[in-house]
């Protein structure tokens, strides 16, 4: 196919589908219904590392997880979830909450929308030994 046809087809095709999906309301991130849902999402990624404590953030899009192996985080990634341990993480306060930088190319930054007092509580909790 000539490039002058292929290129606009691909560009407008991708852009059109993305706009349509957004207009259909399919961009909203998932939320954890409760601590049990966050724990289940953690267990989906780390089935052998049982959560001993779950701290769900108020907007329900992330939760801090404690396990005998260390602290971790489970969070919404689009309509789905993923999880990581916080080993080597850098916690940076932002105007909207916290940013967690992980030494992990597959999950380099996690932006958490937290109220001011909630962010402070998370930082305090993260500094406590596991």
């Amino acid at each position: 196919m000539p490039l002058e046809i292929l290129l606009p087809l691909v560009i407008f095709g991708i852009a059109g589908i993305a706009v349509l999906l957004h207009q259909l309301g399919l961009s909203a991130p998932t939320k954890f219904e409760d601590e049990a849902a966050a724990e289940a999402a953690w267990s989906r990624e780390f089935p052998e590392d049982k959560a001993t404590h779950v701290r769900l953030c108020r907007n329900k899009k992330a939760a801090l997880i404690e396990t005998p192996q260390g602290k971790g985080i489970v969070w919404a990634i689009g309509a789905d979830t993923t999880a990581r341990y916080l080993t080597g993480a850098r916690i940076v306060p932002t105007s909207t909450g916290l940013r967690i930088d992980l030494p992990d190319v597959t999950a380099p930054h996690i932006a958490l929308a937290l109220k001011e007092n909630e962010a402070a509580a998370w930082i305090k909790h993260l500094k406590e030994p596991a």
Binding site: M1, L6, L9, V10, G13, I14, G16, I17, A18, L20, L21, H22, L24, L26, S27, R44, E45, E48, W75, I77, G78, A79, D80, T81, T82, R84, L102, D104, V105, T106, A107, P108, I110
Partner: protein, 312 residues
């Protein structure tokens, strides 16, 4: 011997069909409220990966084609271009696809290229287009060498490969439950391929087929989709990013990081590149086989059932 032979660039000509089919699937899901899920950023990443794959083929395709033409110049055989030869080429190229795909899941160097196709937690027609940008660097073009040396023209082999990929587009859907029994027995179908995209221990390393599911049945890698076990799509450790560059290159970076870590023997460095994904020198990670074994320790009742039959 015919050196100048051209076939249409079928994967490029299929782009309008891909877009139309995605819109139809999306409409079906939205109207019926079942048959799959879509999410904007996930779909956008998949589509950008697809576009990048086409760009990469245009930019790097000459490497594989040059290699194939060198083989073509060397072989004394020429099977011609009859319809039957094209059909035979299609079937044999599908066998080639099975093995390249199997290597893609069992050799980390090849997995580094293929992993992106499995990195979505969704399973819809956009997932089909989440294709590699780095396939050339796996050197899997060598698996096509026997076909060309046997006398199939490189252009025909690539044409059949393109048709194979187009066939595989429509099987990336949850909107179709099961095809007729005879079709499920011979052909790769949405049901068979859903299994292939599963991260459930039962479904790992199964159903590598492109077009004909018979290869999995012949080589012992077939696992049927079980009603009692819904497929959980994605990677064993799901990505925390939609950035297409990270999706395309993360496993390559992982290999280089592992290979270059201090204190390893040369064998261990090599194993980080060529052993099955999940291999580690200190046993801190799990391969799919170890994941299956651990699952059986917790669920001994699954022993001997599909997906767990090869484990002692």
């Amino acid at each position: 011997m015919s050196d100048v032979l051209t076939y249409p660039e079928v994967t490029q000509w299929a782009v309008p069909f891909f877009i139309a089919a995605i819109l139809i699937e999306l409409a079906w899901i939205v109207i019926k409220g079942r048959g799959g899920r879509y999410e904007t950023r996930d779909a956008l990443t998949s589509l950008i990966m697809g576009a990048g794959n086409v760009a990469s083929s245009i930019l790097l395709g000459f490497i594989a084609y040059g290699f194939f033409m060198a083989l073509w110049a060397a072989t004394p055989l020429d099977l011609g271009t009859s319809v039957w030869i094209v059909a035979l080429c299609f079937v044999l190229d599908d066998l080639r696809y099975y093995w390249v795909h199997r290597f893609g899941h069992r050799i980390r160097w090849v997995w580094a290229s293929h992993v992106n196709h499995h990195s979505s937690q969704h399973y819809n027609l956009t997932t089909a287009l989440r294709q590699t940008w780095t396939g050339t660097f796996t050197f899997m073009m060598v698996v096509r060498a026997p076909l060309i040396l046997l006398g199939f023209h490189p252009a025909m082999v690539l044409f059949c490969g393109g048709l194979n990929l187009i066939y595989q587009f429509w099987i990336h859907t949850e909107a179709i439950a099961r095809m007729p029994r005879w079709f499920e027995a011979v052909m790769n179908t949405p049901s068979h391929h859903r299994v292939h995209h599963g991260r459930n221990p039962r479904y790992l390393d199964a159903n590598y087929a492109g077009v004909f599911i018979i290869w999995d049945k012949i080589f012992g890698t077939f696992v049927p989709e079980l009603k009692q076990e819904k497929v959980d799509y994605g990677l064993v450790r799901n990505l925390g990013t939609f950035n297409p560059v990270r999706v395309a290159f993360h496993e390559w970076l992982g290999i280089f990081r592992d290979v270059l870590q201090p204190g390893l023997s040369w064998r261990e460095r090599l194993m980080y590149a060529v052993a099955p994904p999940g291999w580690s020198h200190d046993d801190t990670r799990d391969t799919s086989e170890q994941i299956k074994r651990k699952h059986l320790l917790k669920h001994p009742e699954d022993k001997g059932t599909p997906g767990f039959t090869e484990l002692p």
